[in-house]
Structures are given as structure tokens and as C-alpha cells.
């Protein structure tokens, strides 16, 4: 039992300079919640690093709520209610549009690529040449009628 206390004391010793004289959540614990929030007023500054007086007050709010026993999620919800969803570092699931569109974009891009690949691999016949000078670029087209004609001609010839 006594050894246990001694061990506990020794473990807690290095923490003494960090935990300030007043009991309650340490600055790190407050920062842990604050780092998931953004300053409602400053531009794009996380709440744990924002140096203004207003941010200091908001960190105090977090500290007070931690002392009251509120969970991190409850504190985040409170800030979202008071200051809008923009203060959250991570948009909540209710922000469907935020999460849905990247998926849509990716699927659309894949669809375009697949379409292009298939289109690009169809057999082609050269049928005409562009008349612009300095270019002898063949115009490639895959007309199903001409393909069919060629096929039937080949069959007829053989």
C-alpha cells in the first residue's frame, strides 16, 4: 500500500510544474478540446493557439464545462449551437453535402475515365484527311456503318 503511494507520488512528480496551482483540468486537457474548434472570430485559427482575449474567454468556457463534467462531444455541440457549424474542425455527419460530394466527384471522374478508355480502344478506320496545311493528320472515326460495310465487303471478297 505504502509502496503504491510512493510510486503514485513519483509518477505524479514530473506533472507538478505542468499542472498549475488551481485544481481542475490542465491546460493540455483544455487544449485537447480547443484544438477541435476554431476561433469563431479570427480567420482560420484553431482555438488552442489563438492568442486573443476572446479566445482566452472561450478556453475558459471549455475549462468551466470540463469542471462541470461535460464530455468533449457535449462541449463541441455547445459551440456549434452558439457559433455555427463552422467552428468545428470536423464537420458533423449532418453536413451531408460536405461528405457526399467528394464521393460523387470521384465516381464521376472514374466514370469519365472508363468511358474514355472504352471509347479509345474501339477499332478505327481512317476515312479522311484534314485539309489544314502543315498537317497530315488523319481524321479517325469509328462509324459503325462503315465498319459493317468493310466487314461485309471482306466476307464477300473471300
Amino acid at each position: 500500500m505504502r509502496t503504491g503511494f510512493v510510486v503514485l507520488f513519483l509518477i505524479l512528480m514530473p506533472l507538478v510544474p505542468v499542472v498549475s496551482a488551481d485544481d481542475g483540468p490542465s491546460q493540455d486537457e483544455v487544449n485537447a478540446v480547443a484544438s477541435k474548434l476554431f476561433c469563431p472570430v479570427c480567420e482560420n485559427t484553431p482555438l488552442d493557439v489563438c492568442p486573443t482575449e476572446a479566445c482566452e474567454q472561450w478556453r475558459e468556457v471549455i475549462r468551466t464545462k470540463l469542471i462541470e463534467g461535460q464530455s468533449e462531444q457535449e462541449i463541441l455541440d455547445y459551440f456549434a449551437l452558439m457559433y455555427g457549424d463552422s467552428v468545428l474542425a470536423q464537420p458533423p455527419p449532418r453536413q451531408l453535402a460536405a461528405w457526399l460530394l467528394p464521393v460523387v466527384i470521384f465516381l464521376a471522374a472514374v466514370g469519365t475515365l472508363v468511358y474514355w478508355l472504352r471509347h479509345s480502344m474501339r477499332p478505327v478506320k481512317v476515312t479522311a484527311y484534314a485539309a489544314s496545311e502543315d498537317q497530315a493528320e488523319p481524321v479517325l472515326e469509328s462509324d459503325p456503318y462503315i465498319e459493317r460495310l468493310e466487314k461485309e465487303l471482306a466476307e464477300w471478297e473471300s
Binding site: E43, N44, P51, G84, I105, E137
Partner: protein
């Protein structure tokens, strides 16, 4: 006096650009007789730069002297600012930065005029016209912002630059970015010239390849420098915040990188002709919309300039540019036919296409995220901003996939890759990477993102290094050269390929730095008395005391002294400080950092109240592997220089560039 000179030079520059545009268009319409007009237009465009140099020089003079009667000078400088900052104040405010942009743009235009135009002289009038019209737009905007406008009294002192800008980063970060942004105008001008003139062969891509590469390099550096600056002064150990203006600079970089890759396909296989046009137009369009976003204030940001009247003008330019480009793209779409088709799905061509797919997905995601507040306000009436969490989760994996692709694409052959050859080349890097991941898991790392990041990094590094090895070994065996000599030979003979590999290696280094610092950052905060300690990781700081003094009558500095210990040994003495600017009532905290190859130990003096002599609050950060990020960026410069360095034949061409008569002679009947 100086202000008047500056304004007159500015107006003359605008007049020259206007003449250049008109003459180039007229000359191109007149056919053969228009050749003299085109030559005249070219000369006029080249004259814009010296005129703007005079204008910028006048402004710099005013800034350094401190003529506060000029409104811009009063806004961005103050008496106590050091001279180097006064010079950089040229781009410290809206009007000056637009003047600087115009100067850079004129420089690029002049340089392009100096190149040898013999082989693609048909494109010249259009390149002149587009460059000139762009210049006209920006100079008009500058005149509307009137940088040389005078106040009707002379203030005793100016405001000075915003405190966050008073940093050596101000010297190089904006100029690099501007070089990158403006640089992309040239390939765009070439692409449009090809479209309008109907000369749809590959000459536009050949002609503009090195310009695109240079612009890409400048933009990459600008982005990295911005990150380094943020790391130095923002004080949260971060270097990228997904801020709208940062994103605005990233977007053209993403499409620009995609373009550099798909341009290779066009040159090698004659495919993707229309797509490359689209990509370069998109890149330039993103540059213009980026500058619109930054300067109009429609999206709020730390970087944004004050709201001003030029928002509508920039919007107009963007609209005209988009409509004009899309019109010509669609009109010539049919003629931009590929010379070849895809031979096999499993090929390097497909890998390049997937590369483009991933880059475009990332571009669209970042674009969507940046403009999300606008979309939500339009649709639901409430402005919602997406933050770091969203970007990291959405764009992070996309970028990781791109890095992974860097390790696979070089192993696929053109036209048709064989699974067997791929297997032979890939098994060793793959096995070693898996070993690394297992090793890391055993060592206690359980973050999936970090494991993927390190695993992919090692994989790509090994694949790329093996490419060098195979090349060297082949030459050594075939020619008997020493390994070192062989290495030199393969690089010199195939600069583009090996330069590209060097760039890939740099990206891997940066990826390692990003993975380490993102997933393993540690932090703590503590309030201590003099003589007390705060600990983080293996490091302990001992607070020694605080020094406060007035650096100038505008600046109060509070500097703390801490000793840093590790394993009971003193390893450094750091002095984090807080600079308080009295006239702006704003403070900047400058952290003190101890950097090594394995991590940065970062100490910041926090607190917005008066910091006491006996008590101070410190915030400590441990950023593992962060310096790999900056090292990778330095290697990137080297790799790009290798990739873009002109070969001997190209150099000979440039040296005979501007001689009278180089442009003119044309056979009758050939337009």
C-alpha cells in the same frame, strides 16, 4: 516627383500594351502584309517591361524614402520598419501587389518575345495579343487602385505592414508565387494561339514546355515557402491550414502537375491533344479565379486583401477568359484528334490517365471545399466553412494515392505492359515496404494513416532508386564506365526522365516529412515560475527569465530564455519571444526552434496578457521528421533544374534569338 514619374510610366506601359494588342490582331488579320505590324506589336510588348520597371522602381523609392503623402506608402510602411521590409512592402498591399504582378507579367511577356520564333512564327501574333490583353487588364486594374494616389495631407507616420508580414519570408514567398501564377500565362497563350490559328499540331506544347516547367517550379516553391513561413510565425507547428487563399494557390499547382504529365503522353503518343488544351486552360483559369478570390473578399481568409472595387473587374476578366477559351476549345474539338489509340488497358498511358484522374479529383475536392461557404449560403442561407478535418480526410487519401502511383507508373511500359515484367521489377520494393510496415507495427505504431504513409514512401523511393540503378548497371556493363560516370551519363542523356525521377524522390521526402509531423506531433502547455520546468517527450525546458525592451518606438519585444535538456544534458538555449507592435496594438509570437533531422523541438511564449518576469506560459511542440519536408523541397529545385535544363542544341537556338529579321520572311500565300 517620383510618384508622378511612376504614374506616367504606368500609363505609358498601358498604352504600349494596348498598341501591341491592336497591332498584333490587325497584323494577323491582314495576312502576309501584316508581318510588319506583327513585328511592331512584338516590339511594343517588349517595351512594356522597362516602363513598368521604372514605375515599380519609383514606388520602391517612395517606400524606402517614406513619402507618406502617397496613400499606399502610408498604408504599408512606417518609420521604424527595416529597409528590406520597406522594399517588400511593394507587394504588401492590394495596389502595390497588383503593380508587382503586372511587372512580373510584363517580364514574362518580354522574355517570350525574345525566344526564337522561326519554327512557330504562325503562333506569334496570337501569343502577343493574348499576353498584351492580359497586361492591359492588370494595368487597368492597377490604375483603378491608383497606387500613386496622394493624400491631401502628409501623415507623420505610416501604418506599416501587418505584423505577421514582417518576416524574411516576405522577401521571397509572394514573388515566387507570382512567378508561378504569371508563368502559366505563357503556355496558356501558346495553347490559345494554336487553337485560334488552327495550327493544332504539337508545336504549342513543344514551344511552351520549359515555360510550364519553370512556372510549376516557382509555384511549388511559393507554396513550400508559404508553409515554412507559417511554420515560423503562426506558432502552432503547422505549415498548411487549408485556408482559402492557400487553396487558391494549390489548385493551379494540382492541375499544372497533371498537365506536365499528360503533356508527356501527347509528345510520345500523340494522344490527349484536346485534354491538354483543357488542362492548361483550367490551370490558367484557376490562377485567375484564385486571384479573384483573394482580392474580392467573397471568401474570407487570413490572407485576403481588404474588400475593394476591383472584385467585379476581376470577375469580368475571369468570365471573358472562360467564355473565350471554351468557345475556341469547342470549336476546334473535332480537329484535335489523337494520332493513336490506346493499345492496351494495362500500360503506362493508362497510368498517366489515372494520374490525371487523381489530380483532377483532388482539384475538384479542394475547389469544392474552398467555395463551400458560398454554395451553402446560396442554398441554405447559412455560411459554413469546412476546416482542416474535412480536407485531411478527403484530400489526404487522394494525395497518398498519387504518391503510390509514382511508384507503379515508371514500371509500366508504353503501349502494352506485361504483368510479368511489372512483377519482376516490383517485388523487391514491395516486400521491403511490407517489412517496414510490419516493423513499425511491432515498434508500437498503430496509426493506419502513418503506416500507409511510410509504407508508400519507402515503396516509391525504392522503385525510383532502382530505376537509377538499372540504368547505371546497364551502362556499366555495356560501356565499362564507372558507376559514377554511368550515373552522370544516363542523367545527362535523358534529363527529362531522370530529372523527373529526382522530383519524384523529392516528393517522397516531403511525404515522409508530412507523415511524421502530421501523425506524431506532440504538444503540451504549462505555466511556470522562473526556475521551473516543463516536459515534453524526452525534452525538458527550464525557464530562466524574461527580457523586455523597446526595439524601436513602434516595437516592444518580450524575450524569454529557456534551457533545453534531454537526458539531463543541456542541448540548447532557446529564446522564444513576443513582438508587440504598439501602433497596431497587435502581437506576433515568434517561436524558438531546435531543428534536427529527426524532429523539431518548438517552444512558444504564449499569453495575451502582460507576461511577467517571474511567471510565463509556454507551449511546446515536438514535430518529428518535419525537416524532411523542407529538404525535399530543396531537392525539388535540383530535380526540376535537371529535368528542364536545355540540351546543347537547345542552347544554341536561344543564343541567336533576337536578331533583326528573325521573324519576318515568309513565303507569299502562307499565312
Amino acid at each position: 516627383m517620383l510618384a508622378d514619374i511612376g504614374l506616367i510610366a504606368l500609363i505609358l506601359g498601358l498604352a504600349a500594351a494596348f498598341y501591341a494588342a491592336v497591332a498584333a490582331i490587325y497584323g494577323s488579320l491582314k495576312g502576309v502584309q501584316g508581318v510588319a505590324w506583327i513585328a511592331s506589336a512584338r516590339n511594343a510588348l517588349m517595351v512594356v517591361w522597362p516602363l513598368l520597371t521604372v514605375s515599380c522602381g519609383a514606388m520602391i523609392g517612395l517606400l524606402v524614402i517614406g513619402d507618406f503623402q502617397v496613400e499606399y506608402v502610408a498604408m504599408v510602411t512606417s518609420r521604424a520598419m527595416p529597409t528590406y521590409l520597406k522594399v517588400t512592402a511593394l507587394w504588401g498591399g492590394q495596389a502595390g501587389s497588383l503593380l508587382f504582378w503586372s511587372w512580373v507579367s510584363a517580364a514574362f511577356s518580354a522574355l517570350v518575345m525574345l525566344r526564337k520564333w522561326d519554327s512557330d512564327r504562325a503562333l506569334l501574333p496570337y501569343v502577343v495579343a493574348i499576353s498584351a490583353i492580359t497586361e492591359i487588364f492588370f494595368l487597368t486594374v492597377v490604375l483603378v487602385e491608383s497606387p500613386f494616389a496622394k493624400l491631401d495631407f502628409v501623415p507623420a507616420n505610416g501604418n506599416g505592414l501587418s505584423p505577421l508580414l514582417r518576416h524574411p519570408g516576405m522577401i521571397i514567398h509572394p514573388p515566387m508565387l507570382y512567378l508561378g501564377f504569371v508563368g502559366f500565362t505563357i503556355p496558356y497563350a501558346f495553347a490559345m494561339a494554336a487553337l485560334i490559328s488552327g495550327r493544332l499540331s504539337d508545336e504549342w506544347i513543344h514551344a511552351s514546355r520549359r515555360w510550364a516547367l519553370a512556372a510549376w517550379l516557382f509555384l511549388s516553391l511559393g507554396l513550400v515557402l508559404g508553409g515554412r513561413w507559417a511554420y515560423d510565425v503562426l506558432g502552432w507547428g503547422g505549415y498548411w491550414a487549408w485556408d482559402p487563399v492557400e487553396n487558391a494557390a494549390l489548385l493551379p499547382w494540382l492541375t499544372g502537375t497533371a498537365y506536365l504529365h499528360s503533356a508527356v503522353i501527347q509528345e510520345k503518343r500523340g494522344m490527349l491533344k484536346s485534354w491538354n488544351m483543357v488542362l492548361i486552360t483550367l490551370t490558367y483559369g484557376l490562377v485567375v479565379s484564385g486571384t479573384f478570390l483573394t482580392r474580392s473578399g467573397i471568401i474570407s481568409s487570413v490572407h485576403a486583401f481588404a474588400r475593394s472595387a476591383i472584385g467585379p473587374m476581376m470577375f469580368g476578366f475571369l468570365a471573358v477568359m472562360l467564355v473565350f477559351s471554351v468557345y475556341w476549345l469547342l470549336r476546334r474539338l473535332d480537329a484535335l484528334r489523337a494520332e493513336h489509340r490506346l493499345d492496351a488497358l494495362f500500360s503506362r498511358e493508362t497510368a498517366f490517365l489515372v494520374n490525371n484522374l487523381l489530380f483532377l479529383t483532388a482539384t475538384l475536392s479542394v475547389f469544392y471545399g474552398t467555395f463551400y461557404p458560398l454554395f451553402t449560403e446560396l442554398l441554405i442561407g447559412e455560411k459554413i466553412t469546412l476546416r482542416v478535418g474535412w480536407y485531411n480526410q478527403v484530400v489526404g487519401p487522394q494525395l497518398a494515392a498519387i504518391v503510390l502511383l509514382m511508384g507503379i507508373a515508371p514500371l509500366l511500359s508504353w503501349r502494352r505492359a506485361s504483368a510479368r515484367r511489372l512483377g519482376k521489377a516490383i517485388w523487391l520494393p514491395l516486400v521491403l515496404s511490407v517489412f517496414l510496415v510490419l516493423f513499425l507495427i511491432v515498434e508500437g505504431i498503430n496509426s493506419v494513416g502513418a503506416l500507409i504513409g511510410f509504407g508508400i514512401s519507402l515503396f516509391v523511393a525504392l522503385v525510383t532508386l532502382l530505376e537509377f540503378w538499372y540504368g547505371v548497371r546497364t551502362r556499366h556493363r555495356a560501356k565499362g564506365e564507372s558507376y559514377l560516370r554511368a550515373l552522370n551519363e544516363i542523367v545527362v542523356r535523358n534529363r527529362r526522365r531522370y530529372g523527373g525521377y529526382l522530383i519524384h524522390l523529392s516528393i517522397v521526402l516531403m511525404a515522409i516529412g508530412i507523415t511524421g509531423s502530421h501523425f506524431f506531433q506532440e504538444e503540451t502547455q504549462g505555466t511556470v515560475q522562473r526556475g521551473e520546468t516543463v516536459t515534453l517527450g524526452g525534452f525538458t525546458i527550464l525557464y530562466q527569465g524574461l527580457n523586455e525592451w523597446a526595439e524601436s518606438d513602434e516595437l516592444m519585444i518580450s524575450e524569454a530564455k529557456v534551457e533545453v535538456y534531454r537526458d539531463k544534458k543541456l542541448i540548447a538555449t532557446l529564446k522564444p519571444r513576443r513582438d508587440y507592435y504598439l501602433n497596431m496594438a497587435q502581437a506576433v509570437t515568434i517561436p524558438a526552434v531546435r531543428s534536427t533531422i529527426s524532429e523539431d523541438f518548438y517552444v512558444m511564449l504564449v499569453g495575451w496578457e502582460q507576461i511577467g518576469q517571474d511567471q510565463a506560459t509556454f507551449k511546446l511542440y515536438l514535430n518529428p521528421l518535419i525537416n524532411w519536408l523542407w529538404a525535399g523541397a530543396v531537392m525539388l529545385i535540383f530535380g526540376t533544374l535537371v529535368a528542364g535544363w536545355p540540351s546543347r542544341s537547345a542552347l544554341a537556338v536561344v543564343s541567336t534569338a533576337y536578331r533583326p529579321g528573325t521573324i519576318v520572311t515568309r513565303k507569299a500565300g502562307v499565312a
